[in-house]
Symmetry: C2
Subunit: 487 residues, 2 copies
C-alpha cells in the first residue's frame, strides 16, 4: 500500500476547490514518479476516508484525472495510473540543440524611426501621487456591476452564443444598444449598421486614417492637436496641415483658405474639450465645417471622446447629427466613462464606410471580445452607465472647482489657465519657468506629472494638461502643495 | 401627500437589486413629471414603511438618488426633488435642424476594392448544425473559472491597478506568466521583454506585416496558405511569392531558388497543421529554413496557432527555439485553447522587434484589456489552462477518429483526405463533384458548411477544411449523414 496520505496536502483555506487540490497533487506525484505508471490507486471511497474528504469530492477529483487522461478505470479491477502519460512533450530535432540564450536583436532591419515611441512610456504604480493627462478615477468604476454582467453572459448559455467568431463590426446586441443610446443622447438617427465597435477611440482614428489616407494625402489637424492622432496620420503617410485652435475651436477661415489651394482628404477635429487645450468648437464653426466638407468633399473625423463630461454647460450636438452628406466619421469611447483599460469605443458613419472599414478591421484583430461587448450592452440597458455618468459628473464638477481654486491660490502668476467647461483636465501654461524642470523637481518630491513635451508639435508650449478627475480633494491639496514648491 | 406607493413597483424576482429598482422608479417619475421639481419626499423610514422594504434598502436608494443629483437633503427640513435636474441635454444649434434620416453613403470616395471582404461573412446562430473551419467546442470552455478570475481581479483592489493605462506590450503579469509557460512547453528561453500580447494570432500577423513590409516588398507564402495572412500581406503592399506545400510542409528548395533571384523580406509559415492542408513542417525543413533566413536575412513569421492540439504525435520544437540569429517572429493564440471570441494571443521576438512593434500597436488600439489579460494569467497560474488543454485534447482525439471513420464509411470515393496528426479539421478534397453545389444542397437540408472558395488562391482546390472539434459524436453522425446525401 502506498503512503498516499503523505503525498497529498489539502489546504481548506485555499481559493482552489478541494477536488482540484487533490487531483493537482496526484498529477504532481505522477509526474515526479512518486506514483508510478500502472500503479493501482485506492478506490474513491477508501481514498476519501484516508484524506478525510467527502466521497463526492474524491469522485470529482478522480473524474478530473480521468478527463485529463492521468488515470484509467478498469471494470472489476480498479483505478490505475495510466502507462502512457498524457503529456505533450515537444520532439527534439536530432543533432540540433535548442537555444540556451534567446537572441537580443533581429537579423533583419526594422524602421525604428518610422515607428518611434510616443506618448507616456512609464506607467506609475498605483499609490503614487500623479497628475495625469485627464483620466477618470478608476476607483469609482462600477466594477461590481460589470463583473455581474460578465457572469450573467457566461451563465445564460449566452457564453456559447457569444464566443464563436462573429462580426468584425462588433456584437449586434451592443451595436443595437448603442444606436439607441446615441440617438437619445446625441441626436443621431442611426441603426446598428452605422456602428462599428472599436477598441477605444484610438482604433477609430487608426481605422479611418488607414482606410482614407494614401501616402502624400493632405490632412488638416489643429495646432495644437492630439498627439496620438497626429502620429497615426503621419504613419499612414499623410502630410499634416496645422491650423490654429483659438478659444472657439479650430480656425475655419484658415481651413477654407487651405481648401482653395490644395485637395484635402481629411480633417480631424475634437469638438468638445479639445485635446490638449480643452476648448469647445462653437456651433457656427461646426456648421461652416460641414459646408466646407460638402463643397470640397473631404472627410471629417469628429473625435467626441469627452461628450459625457460637462459641468457648467451642455454639450453641443455633434456635427454628425447635422450632416446630410455623409462627411462625418463620428468617434467615441468608453475609456473615460468606465476605465481606460476597458477598451471599448465606437465609430459611427454611413453604412458603406462601416462595411469597408470592417474589412480592414478584420485583418487587424478579426473582431472584438464579444463577451465583454455584450456585458457592456447590459450595463447600458440596466442603467448602470447612465447612473455612473451622473455620479461622476457631479463629483468631477466638485473636483474641477476645487482644483482650479487651488491652482489660482497656490500657483498665482506662475501659471495661466482657463477653467474648462467640462472634461478632466486644465490646460495650464507655465510662465517664465521651464516645465521640464518643474516636473523633475516634483518627481523628487513624490509628485509625478508630464513635462509637457508630448503636447509640443513644431511649436513649444511649455504647457500641460493637469488632470483633476482622478484625484480626490485631499489628494489635490497634496499635489498642488508640492507643485507650488517647485516653481 | 403624494401617492408614491402607486408610482413604484418592486419586483422581488428581478435580477436588479431592490434599492436600484426604487431609485430607478423615482428617477422615471421625476423625468415624466409625476414627481415634480422641488417636491418634498417622505423620509426614508416612512417610505420604507410605505413600500414595505427594509429601511437600509431605502437609505441605499436615497443615497443613489443623492449621488446622481436627483434629490437633495436639507438639514432639519427633509428630502426634496432638486429644482435643476441633472440631465445632460445637448444644445441645439439655432436654425439648424438635426437629421431626421442618416445619410446612406459617404460623400468622399473609399477604396472598396483594396479593402474587400474576405473570409466567412455570415455567422450561423447557435443551435445550427455547422461544419466549421476547425474551431474549438465553446461548450467545453472553462468559463466559470474565467469569470472567477475576472472577479478576483476586480476585487483585489487590483481593478485599480490594472485599469489605468499601461504598456502597449500587455500586462506584465501575463507576459511573465507566458514567458515561463512558453519556455516550459516550447523550449523558448525568453523573458517578458520578448513578448507582446496581441488580440489573437491575427494581430500578430498584422503587426509583423505592417512593421516589415513596404509596398513592393517580396513575401513568400505557401500554396495554398492561410487566406487572412495573404490578404494582410497584400494590403500592406507585398508581392506574394507562392511556394507549393507538400506532405512535409512548404518546399524549401523552391524557397532557396527564389532567394537566389530576388530580395525576400518575409516568409510566412504555419509549422503545425498548416492552414488549410493540416500538414506539419518536418524538422529537416525547419533547420534549412533557419539557414536560409540567416543567409538571406529575411524575417520568418512562424504562426504556431495549433501547437497545443496533437493526438498521435508530439509537436516539433518551434523554429524560434533554434534560431540563434533573431530571424523568427513566433506567433500563437488562445483563441483555439479557450474560445475564439476571447481575443488573446502572443508574439515572441527579439527585444528590439517587440519594442518597435509596441509603438505601432499603440497607434492601433493603445493597449489590450488589462483586466482580461491578468485574469488569463490567473488561468495559467492555477493550472486551468493546462487542465483544459488535456481534457479537450483527449476529447478531440476521439472526435477526430470518429469523424474520419464516418467520412471513410459514408463518403467513400466522393472525397479524399488524410487523417490529420492534430488540429481541429480534416482537409478534404471533393472528387468529381462541385463543392459549391454540395454546400448549397447541405444548407437546404439544415447543415451549414463552407463552399471552399475561401481556400482558393490562384488555384482552385474544390476542397474544404471540415472541422470536427466543435461537434460531438452524435452531431457528427447527423452532419455526415446529411453530407452523404448531397453528393
Amino acid at each position: 500500500m502506498i503512503a498516499i496520505k503523505e503525498l497529498i496536502t489539502i489546504d481548506k483555506t485555499s481559493d482552489t476547490a478541494i477536488y482540484l487540490q487533490v487531483s493537482n497533487a496526484i498529477i504532481h506525484n505522477i509526474r515526479r514518479g512518486s506514483l508510478r505508471r500502472g500503479l493501482k490507486l485506492p478506490g474513491s471511497r477508501e481514498l476519501a476516508g484516508i484524506l478525510q474528504v467527502h466521497r463526492k469530492t474524491m469522485l470529482a477529483a478522480y473524474g478530473e484525472l480521468l478527463a485529463q487522461g492521468w488515470i484509467e478505470m478498469i471494470p472489476r479491477k480498479g483505478t490505475f495510473v495510466v502507462k502512457d502519460l498524457p503529456e505533450i512533450k515537444p520532439t527534439r530535432i536530432k543533432n540540433v540543440e535548442p537555444l540556451a540564450k534567446y537572441p537580443v536583436k533581429t537579423i533583419f532591419s526594422i524602421d525604428e524611426k518610422r515607428f518611434a515611441p510616443f506618448g507616456p512610456s512609464n506607467f506609475p504604480p498605483p499609490g503614487k501621487l500623479v497628475i495625469n493627462d485627464g483620466f477618470p478615477d478608476v476607483r469609482l468604476a462600477p466594477s461590481e456591476f460589470y463583473i455581474r454582467e460578465l457572469r450573467s453572459v457566461a451563465k445564460q448559455g449566452a457564453f456559447k452564443k457569444y464566443n464563436m467568431y462573429g462580426s468584425a463590426k462588433g456584437a449586434l446586441y451592443l451595436r443595437e444598444t448603442l444606436s439607441s443610446f446615441l440617438s437619445d443622447t446625441r441626436g443621431l438617427p442611426i441603426s446598428a449598421e452605422n456602428i462599428l465597435i472599436t477598441k477605444g477611440a484610438q482604433m477609430g482614428i487608426y481605422l479611418a486614417a488607414h482606410l482614407l489616407i494614401k501616402p502624400g494625402d493632405n490632412v488638416i489637424v489643429g495646432e495644437p492637436s492630439y498627439f496620438a492622432a497626429n502620429i497615426t496620420f503621419q504613419q499612414a503617410g499623410a502630410i499634416l496641415n496645422r491650423v490654429p485652435v483659438d478659444e472657439y475651436g479650430i480656425d475655419v477661415d484658415k481651413i477654407e483658405a487651405i481648401c482653395k489651394k490644395k485637395k484635402i482628404r481629411l480633417l480631424y477635429v475634437i469638438p468638445h474639450h479639445h485635446h490638449p487645450t480643452t476648448v469647445t468648437l462653437i456651433p457656427e464653426r461646426r456648421i461652416r465645417l460641414l459646408e466646407l466638407a460638402a463643397n470640397y468633399k473631404f472627410a471629417i473625423i469628429e473625435d467626441d471622446y469627452d461628450y459625457d463630461f460637462h459641468y457648467t454647460s451642455n454639450p453641443v450636438l455633434p456635427m454628425a447629427s447635422l450632416d446630410n452628406h455623409g462627411n462625418v466619421i463620428y468617434i467615441g469611447t468608453l475609456s473615460k466613462t468606465l476605465v481606460p483599460a476597458t477598451r471599448v469605443g465606437f465609430m459611427v458613419a454611413p453604412e458603406n464606410f462601416i462595411n469597408t472599414v470592417s474589412h480592414l478591421r478584420r485583418t487587424i484583430d478579426w473582431q472584438g471580445d464579444s463577451m465583454m461587448e455584450v456585458a457592456i450592452a447590459g450595463l447600458y440597458r440596466n442603467g448602470t452607465i447612465e447612473r455612473h455618468i451622473k455620479k461622476v459628473v457631479k463629483l468631477y464638477h466638485e473636483r474641477r472647482d476645487h482644483f482650479c481654486a487651488l491652482l489660482k491660490e497656490k500657483m498665482g502668476s506662475h501659471i495661466s489657465f482657463k477653467i474648462p467647461d467640462g472634461g478632466m483636465s486644465v490646460w495650464t501654461k507655465f510662465n517664465k519657468v521651464d516645465l521640464k524642470l518643474v516636473a523633475e523637481r516634483a518627481a523628487k518630491k513624490g509628485l509625478l506629472m508630464s513635462d509637457g513635451r508630448i503636447y509640443n508639435t513644431n511649436a513649444e508650449y511649455n504647457a500641460s494638461r493637469l488632470g483633476f478627475a482622478s484625484l480626490n480633494l485631499k489628494e489635490q491639496d497634496k499635489a498642488i502643495e508640492i507643485l507650488s514648491t517647485c516653481m
